[in-house]
Amino acid sequence: MTSTSLRRHKATGTLVVLGALLATGVGYAAVTSVAEASAPATAASATLVEEGRQLYLEGCATCHGLGAQGINDGSSYGPSLIGVGAAAVDFQVATGRMPLAAPANQAPRKPPVYTPEQIEALAAYVASLGPGPAIPTEDQYDSSDADLAEGGELFRTNCAQCHNAAGKGGALSEGRYAPTLMNATPKEIYEAMLTGPQNMPNFPDSTMPEEQKQAIIAFVEHLQSGDSPGGFALGSLGPVTEGVFIWTAGLGLLLAAAVWIGAKVR
C-alpha cells in the first residue's frame, strides 16, 4: 500500500479522530493530575464533602460556627477549622476527643462517636475549606526502618518535657494535661505531631522531617512494649509513686524489722 491509498482508507478518518482524542485526554490528564491530587475536592469526593458538611452542621457547628470559622464570643469557644486539614479532623474525631461532651480546658480521649466512614466525610469537608495536612498514609507512619536511638534522642528533646520521659503523660496548667502515649497508634502519633492538637505545638515536616517522625514513633512503640529492664517501674510516674512506695512499703519493712529486733524472746 502506498501512502496515498492509506490516507484514502475507509477507517483512516475514524482512527485519526480516535488518536487525537486519546492524545488530548492523556495530555490533559498529565497536566491536571498534579493539580487534582492536591485540590481539596475532586468530582468523585464531592458527595463525600457534602455528606461531611451535613454531619458538621449537626455535630460541630455549635462550637466551630456554621462556616467553621470558629466562635470566640466569651460564652463559647471553638477554634477555626479552616486550614487545619483532614489529619486534624481524623485525629480529634477518631480518638473521641471531638465532639466534646462539655466545654472544658481539656478534651479527653474517649470512644469515638462517629464511624470511620463518617470521619472520612467530616475530614473531606474540613479539608475542602482550606489547604491543610492530609491524613498520613501507612508509608508515612511506618516505623519499621526507623532508627530507634535517634528516635529516643528526638523524643527526649521534643516530647518528653510534656509527655514524660517514659511517655506516661503529665500535668499542664489549669486542668490541662499531656495525655499518656501508651495507647496511641502510630497514625495518631503522626497526626498529632503534624497538627498539634489542643495545646500541643505542631512539628511540621519542615522542622521535623518524616523519617524523624518515624523514629519517634518507633521509640514510642518501644516504650509501649512495656519492657522495664531496671525492675518494677511503679508506673514510671517519677517521685509520686516512688515516694508513696518507699514511705509505705520501705518504712513499713524497717518498722517491722525494728519491732522484731526489739521483741522479747520467751
Binding site: T207, S228, P229, G230, R266
Partner: protein, 343 residues
Amino acid sequence: MSDSQGKDLATVEHGEAPLYPLPPHRPRTTDTDPRAARRAQRQVATQFALSAVLTVGFFVAYWVVPVDQTVELGPFGVWSLSNLLLGLTLGGAILLIGTGAIHWAKKLMSDEEIVDERHPLGSPEEDRAAAKEMFDTGLAESGFAERKIVRRSLIGALLLFPLPFIAFLRDMGPMPGTSLRNTIWKKGTRIVVDVSGQPLRPEDLQVGTLVSASPEGLDEIQEEEGTQNARAKASIILVRMSPDEIRSDQSPEGETWAYEGILAYSKICTHVGCPIALYQRRTHHLLCPCHQSTFDLADSGNVVFGPAARRMPQLPITVDDEGYLVAQSDFTQPVGPSFWERG
C-alpha cells in the same frame, strides 16, 4: 539518797544503789532446754550458710546469665533476668547475714540485763582541784604570763598561720568573670534545630510550631571546651504565633526582636535553671516542670505563676541574606538562674 533533792532524779551518786532495780530475770527456753538451743543454733547456721550459697549464686548469675536476657513476670511486666538475679542473690545474702546475726543475738547470746547507771557528769571535787593546781604550776614554770614577748610572738604566729588556707580558696576559681552574662550567640549566628542541626527559614515554622534550637557550630565549641556549658546557656526555643496574638515582647522602642510572629526565648528557667519547653500553644504559656513557674511568651515572657522572679530572656532574631533565621545579637541579659552580682 539524802542529797538527791534538787537534782535530776535519775542521777545516782557514785557507789549508791540503783534508783530503779531491774525486774527479775526470766530465762529463755534456749537457756533451759538444750534441744531448743541446738535448734536455734541450726537456724542461725542455716541462715549464714544460705547467705554463702546466695553469694556463690551471685557469681553464677553474673557469669552465666546474658545481660540482655529478659523474663516475663506476669503483672510486673518484662524484666532483665540478669538484674533480677543479681539483686536477689546479693540482697538476699546480706539480708540473711543480718537476720542470722539478730537471731543469734536474741536466742543464744547471753541475755543477762545489765544496767549502766547514770552518774553526775562533773568530776569529783578533788580531781578538779588537782587539775587546776597542775595548770597553775605549768603557767608559773613556763613563764607564759611573765615573758610577754614570747607570748605575743606566739599569738602573732598562730594568728597568721590560717591565712595560707584562705589563700587556697582562690584555687577554687577562677572567678566566672563575664561568662555568666554571655552566651555564644552573636550577631548573625544561625539558629539550627537541636539534635538534627538543620538551619531554619521563617517559612519552616507554622503558627503553633515549637522548635528546640541551638546556635550553629555549638558541637565544635562543645568538643573544644569538653563541657556542655555552652549548650547549657545557649539553648533556646522558637515558637510561632500569629502576630496579632503577641501582646508585647522585650524589644526596646524602635527595635524588632521577633520575626513575623516567630519568637526566640531562652530554654533555661530563670528560677533554678531547669531546661523547659512545656509550651501550651493556645495559651502561649511556658511551664517549668520543676517548680511550676509559668511564663507568658505572648507577653514578653513575663512570669504569670510560680517562684521564678524574672521573665524569660528573649533572643533578638531576624533573617540573613540567604533567608535563614539568625540572632541579631547575644541575649541582652544573663540567662538562667539569678546570682548575686546580677542584681
